[in-house]
Symmetry: C2
Amino acid sequence: MSVAPNLLANAVRALSMDAVQAANSGHPGMPMGMADVATQLFAHYLKYDPKAPKWADRDRFVLSAGHGSMLIYALLHLTGYERPTIEDIRNFRQLGSPCAGHPENFELAGIEATTGPLGSGLATAVGMAIAERHLNAEFGDDLVDHRTWVIAGDGCLMEGVNHEAVGLAGHLKLGRLIVLWDDNRITIDGPTSLSTSEDVLARYAASGWQTLSCDGHDPADIARALEEAQADPRPSIVACKTIIGFGAPNKQGTSATHGSPLGHDEVAATRQVLNWMNEAFDLPQEVVEGWGKAGVRGKAVREAWEARLAASPHRAEFERRMVGDLPESFSLDAHLADLIANPQKVATRRASELALEAINAQLPETIGGSADLTGSNNTKTKSLKPLTAEDYSGRYIYYGIREFGMAAAMNGMALHGGVIPYGGTFLVFSDYCRPAIRLSALQRARVVYVMTHDSIGLGEDGPTHQPIEHLMSLRVMPNLDVYRPADVVETAECWALALEKKDGPSLLALSRQNLPQLRDNADENLSAKGAYRLRAAKAERKVILIASGSEVEIALGVADALEAEGVGADVVSMPCWSRFDAQPRAYRDEILPDVPSDQILRVSIEAGTTMGWERYTTPHGLRFGIDGFGASAPAPMLYDHFGLTAQKIAPKVLAALKGN
Amino acid sequence: MSVAPNLLANAVRALSMDAVQAANSGHPGMPMGMADVATQLFAHYLKYDPKAPKWADRDRFVLSAGHGSMLIYALLHLTGYERPTIEDIRNFRQLGSPCAGHPENFELAGIEATTGPLGSGLATAVGMAIAERHLNAEFGDDLVDHRTWVIAGDGCLMEGVNHEAVGLAGHLKLGRLIVLWDDNRITIDGPTSLSTSEDVLARYAASGWQTLSCDGHDPADIARALEEAQADPRPSIVACKTIIGFGAPNKQGTSATHGSPLGHDEVAATRQVLNWMNEAFDLPQEVVEGWGKAGVRGKAVREAWEARLAASPHRAEFERRMVGDLPESFSLDAHLADLIANPQKVATRRASELALEAINAQLPETIGGSADLTGSNNTKTKSLKPLTAEDYSGRYIYYGIREFGMAAAMNGMALHGGVIPYGGTFLVFSDYCRPAIRLSALQRARVVYVMTHDSIGLGEDGPTHQPIEHLMSLRVMPNLDVYRPADVVETAECWALALEKKDGPSLLALSRQNLPQLRDNADENLSAKGAYRLRAAKAERKVILIASGSEVEIALGVADALEAEGVGADVVSMPCWSRFDAQPRAYRDEILPDVPSDQILRVSIEAGTTMGWERYTTPHGLRFGIDGFGASAPAPMLYDHFGLTAQKIAPKVLAALKGN
């Protein structure tokens, strides 16, 4: 490299401060502070090729401190990615620009993960590093041999999920994971001493990490640290001692540079300090050339890899895996046929295990796991052996009591590609991993959440463990398909749908308690429509009963009681709201005819909050559910206590009909 | 104590294994493993009086490993609390028994916190320890001088929130906090080596804790460790080396004892090992007497404290604070009158700050804070100085980037009593602290969540920071009042309501952007009704527009446009769903008359998910909102982009009217 490193770094600084100033919004402090470190990384260490940004064996880079988004936008532009263009950067944070406020993986190649919610990026990177080692174990060094790099700030390290991520990475000895900590001792509120006294490196060391430090503004010292990080078999954290907003003469080193434009005067003063005399967004030719050289570093490496891939006997399978297509032969039909032939009365968590036996045997790409509830979530099928530091080829991860860390790692695996992660916990603890579930949805990551013990049906563990509001609170999350199957057949159907959805997460809410098999036919995946008529009224239809999961059985009992009184009642099983809402109007009207409630009364039954069910019952329908917290008792007593039995519901429906 | 310690401990073991066996459900392993440690604590160290369980200066004991609930039920019974009776324990986990599956603070005196969701108890205890030191600084050693003790398991320590709690406690040097870690190397999935390689004590030391170990089955060694823990000015963790299920000859030391009854044979075998020949629930007289002596230890201490309180000039104020009553003189009327006289166009986050200026000046019990967003959440009023390790009398806590830890600590403060905590973060990060918000609601803790940047109105930070589903997902949580005020007047009203609610949490969703003052009269707290008619239709009423927060202004614009077309439109401001739903039917019908949509069309406008609004609009009404993720751009452009402007909404309402 003939161009001085600090000139390259100053290009990052200039683009960052100028873009933030132009937008009058953004975070200049981090990009300016970490410019020297990032320049070393992108100019000398990171394995990537801007002309083939999705190359499977590239290093993964995650900007966990996502507010410093201009850092990655500047680097992608300077190293020669097709986007962002300089025009994109001029439009930083404007509608339609791929240079959004925080980096978004679906906007730009080169953005490996959507970041911003603090701590999540680093925890996601752990999953990428797991996927890399696992695929390496499957496909060998020739095809899979790369690193995962993270830039993280103090916020990423203070968040609770950091503890989970660090513990998991240390336990699994993910030596290909390197975290570059922007150790600038500043957070939004001021110096870190306001809120923490932690010896961060000692904590990382306690979980088996290599801990390093460097002067984050000294290229040689940065290089030394990166070399040491690469050489060690442990995951590494490098405390990069930096000055936030480096170069801004009056504001650097203070929280004033964190989340606001520097201001025109300070930008001008910074130009003087950096000796950067070009206009905003105008790059000196030597900078363009210097960064251009850095950007082509990976081309030969990538081409050599492509040659190896072309010659590999694993090529077809590797490419299928990385694209994320299921094998053409994949099917659950045999499993379903077996269920129809031999009906099963099992909990849907057990039904999920049965489906997984069929799935895991056909899909080598699945990686299961649980946050220390393996036996309860039924996530481990017989053939899966553990993925451990000693054997990365395993396909089952004991995540420990780390729900958020598990979910974030699953995001990383899905984003890395080549694997399809699923993981379990209790539905009530979806709250613990909710920030990562949201990022699954936002990042369009194929992650399957296996959430068991989905209602008061779990019984004696009581209100802390009984989800009430969780189903509804998850249904409102965009791009998340929430499934609550009613029996063993629907469970298999929902699993098939979850696997087929390449561009987003699915969540299966499963019962602890046994449920009868309700379906005697599986010729069509009826769950795919979100809701369907499980049983049609025999007498003249006056009622439509709508239920999900374990309450479908109750709805059938209510229908029996109503029919005995000469009142016809459809029973609609509704395993997935979002799929039903996506059906054509004609289908929805067929299932739920648009007639006044005095002609057909709509009734919902679900052992959770009733708020939200007005969507299908209308406010004039009836909603049976639970709007307070649960209680501790055997499950059948709780169903009776909360009035969720056919014996208690049917009379109320009849009374409502008479009232009309 | 004349009775051998192990006999006392065996009483805990016997009650635990017998109650779990009788219920055929529960967790015997932890109580049997930690019985010796807990016996030392309750027999010699913990300051409490079973006959005055709410005595303000008692030590607080939190069973963070809440699944081991039989431990605390046994201890409360044995030491002489009025409840649980032996009959209550016989009915462990049955409907109506106060001995629920997990300990619930509202069921039994002596249960200081509802626990079970792992990690939360310890993080809650941090808040109790903060409240203790703060009140000590205010009221002196004579009135406030106690400790907070925690029993925690491996799960509590692996959860992310543990990192946040440990960091906060270490930073604040909470030397009165002592954690007894049930270091049994077993989790549900098996040995801890399946999922973690962490040196736990090294991690705690990295945050400034004293770290100790003891043989958890050796009374003398336990006593030594507890003495050392008490003597040190730092918070302490004691690794109590225990055997899970201690005494069960064939199952101890394995995960088989964690969450299932031992089984009749193993229970019988354990009786032999423990030399415990009494029938289930039958206690030997020497045990009753031995534990009885332990239980009266605190009586004299409590009486001496009561004498000091009686003589204290601070008595009335201290008692008011601990009961949780607001001062009789407390009022925001002057603040509201000032707003009516001098209208303010401010963001509701700023409106919250203005209200807090009036509140904090009148209520010495408020303790504010933010998870590193002080300047954005507007949570720090001018007079509040920081609460620090050097000065616990401060009333503002820099929580750091620890949303979950903050929320859990606030729960602990509220449960401790004497203070009213409020704390801020961005609404989108309510996901990070959602498990603790749920526990605020379940535990009936008066915590006020100040959640700013409550919609796309935050602008350029983009979809990672723009709450879409959060309002709705919080509204479905039982016992949580979610407020979204529309202007500076409503904000003050909502604050008053939040403070008046002694038995549960409130959450204020506040705008980043400025909003005009809409109210010109504050004679009545209209927000108390949850929704009210802000402006009545001028022309014949054909439409009711319902909106919250920043969208009320838009609704007024829509109403203007409709009235200009001769279409009468009410505008209803709905700051709080749960309060509206609690109004008498007559009031609700007055605001939202129960007439078909072809007579009056109901329209909701809210910059978040529309799912759920059918509750008020009916499915036949219109719902304007955002059902996908947001975008990165200046706020006004986003409102236009997502169709949330009067110019875009009014024509759609008119079209719908014509369609009728």
